[in-house]
């Protein structure tokens, strides 16, 4: 664990060198880094910047522009609750309030036990199955209280 810093940089270097020949490689590299570490560790930014001949500030600017990239690790599960119009029409306000209450956290927060991170999302393309959510990349439609209770129990297992 003491060597975590160098280890991160080494793993990032491998990823960067794998992808840097792509046309416009920065987003694929950041996605891959986040996939590897669960977030984009700040130690990886200089590695990326040097390989792509960018300034640290430029890479940082890109990372912070996009909602997807995290600066801190997420929980073991990531639950995204749709808050866009079609889901609003089917009670997504209630869904958000209920899941916050069940998990005891708000949006952009992670439960103390590290089980789950809760995030709002604006449309999942499940608008004819509203209200909708996505748990670790798997779509869930027609949410009701019962489904939310099941989800909140499942993520804590």
């Amino acid at each position: 664990m003491q060597h975590a810093g160098t280890d991160v940089a080494e793993r990032a270097t491998v990823i960067v060198h794998d992808l840097m020949e792509l046309e416009g490689p920065l987003l694929p590299i950041l996605h891959s880094i986040q996939h590897e570490f669960g977030y984009v560790p700040s130690e990886t930014l200089p590695v990326i910047a040097e390989a792509l001949n960018l300034s640290n500030a430029e890479v940082h600017g890109v990372v912070t522009f996009y909602h997807d990239y995290r600066s801190h690790p997420a929980g073991r599960h990531v639950l995204k609750i749709c808050q866009a119009e079609a889901c609003q029409s089917m009670g997504s306000d209630h869904v958000a309030a209920k899941i916050k209450q069940l998990l005891g956290i708000g949006f952009h927060e992670t439960t103390r036990d590290g089980a789950v991170t809760l995030e709002p999302v604006y449309c999942l393309g499940l608008c004819a199955c509203a209200p909708a959510a996505m748990l670790d990349g798997e779509p869930i439609g027609r949410l009701n209280d019962e489904a939310l209770e099941e989800i909140s129990a499942a993520v804590r297992l």
């Binding site: 792509l22 046309e23 416009g24 490689p25 920065l26 987003l27 694929p28 950041l30 996605h31 792509l52 600017g61 890109v62 522009f65 996009y66 909602h67 997807d68 990239y69 995204k80 866009a84 119009e85 079609a86 889901c87 609003q88 029409s89 089917m90 999302v121 604006y122 449309c123 999942l124 393309g125 499940l126 608008c127 004819a128 199955c129 509203a130 909708a132 996505m134 990349g137 798997e138 779509p139 869930i140 439609g141 027609r142």
Partner: protein, 518 residues
Amino acid sequence: MTVTIYIPGDSGALALGAEKVARAVAGEIQNRGLDARIVRNGSRGLYWLEPMVEVETETGRVAYGPVKASDVAALFDAGLVSGGSHPLSLGNPEDIPFLKRQTRLTFARCGIVAPLSLNDYQSHGGLAGLRKAVGMTPADVVRTVTESGLRGRGGAGFPTGIKWKTVLDTAADRKYIVCNADEGDSATFADRMIMEGDPFVLVEGMTIAGLATGATKGFVYIRSEYPHAIAVMTAAVDIARNAGILGTTVLGSPNAFDIEIRSGAGAYVCGEETSLLNSLEGKRGVVRAKPPLPAIQGLFGKPTVINNVISLASVPVILDRGAEHYKDFGMGRSRGTIPIQIAGNVKHGGLFEAAFGMTLGELVDDIGGGTATGRPVKAVQVGGPLGAYFPRELFDTPFDYEAFAGKDGLIGHAGITVFDDSADMLKQARFAMEFCAIESCGKCTPCRIGSTRGVETLDKLAAGIEPDKQIALVTDLCNTMKFGSLCALGGFTPYPVMSALTHFREDFAPRPMQEAAE
């Protein structure tokens, strides 16, 4: 003979339990020792009936739905493998009125074929358009697309053939085809359905665009919220490359064309074409000023066609059947068919592809069947978060670009969100401003700051503080945003806000105390 059972692998069907159903069906096949196989097809787009299971019988397909995993054993008891009758029987799916009333050109195969089977694709008419294009001059391909009247389905409705002609006529050592699969608008899922259910039609459409313009490289920029679509498209591109559809010799011709799949990173504004190009280049997704047009200086400064998924996926059928065939559908300057997505608080939500010209009322009341809650329809929002809210009084508006513009609305990517009478239009107007504030790329002050001011002003209005003054302020803000924004995020946010204010003024009146206090 082996019986084929279709269970959609479409995200919408998965969201409603299709995976559990597939596992239960596999279990029954095994336990009963049946000679049957499961195909994971796309969705037909009848989401109130998903998961919809179909069986291939001697007399055609028989459908059942909505099927729960707990229904599966009883369905097999009722003789599902031979189309036996059961309370969930729907008969021949093509006879369900919601499907029967459609004109499926772009979605002809979606929900019918195995998405990643090139055999299925070709036996249902796939590649016929590309084969024709290979034997034509680029100028003739472009002319066919122009003559079909196809307009961009991503929102702006710009004639696709004219865009292609600019790229064809601009000399360069490298050109690109970029497919905009960012589909960020609420109420839209047509792009997702086609990518998950018939991915080769998009590969074919992009390849035709490449031949027509001299572009040799294509990118599909898919939003990260669509992991299943990304997986299917990635697999489809590999299969197409191995089959010689993509690569250095497209279908054995001297033309090269290849495609790469890219994932977005959760920014709504990256659906705007120049922001998307910046994002592909690895930059912040800020909007570029036009000119230069992407068709002249686009991706990496090279001539670039950027088109929506549905625009590109409509090209193969146009090449196959001819410009006239496509153009014969529709009304006025809106030619062909449009995949309309009916969503939100609606009884029969789903994908409805039809010629332009049906009225909003027909779509919401007849096709959609009214609200899911059974309460009266109060408002519909057409065209996503930047689209106007229409009251019932405007339900006679035909689905046509110009007709919607004439009523201060827009078709956009053709999503319709239905709201029942519990909707609070002040709240919806506030959300439009809030969404603009969250998603603004930050380049223009009216969009970035104006939207935040808009939220504050509407909050004051809701609290009953000097209502007349707030309404005047919001109207003023909307004008500034409309005329002082570089792109439609800031420029069109006034549509939902002002339409809510205009058509539902009563929701903006001071509220009784107990409601304001809740």
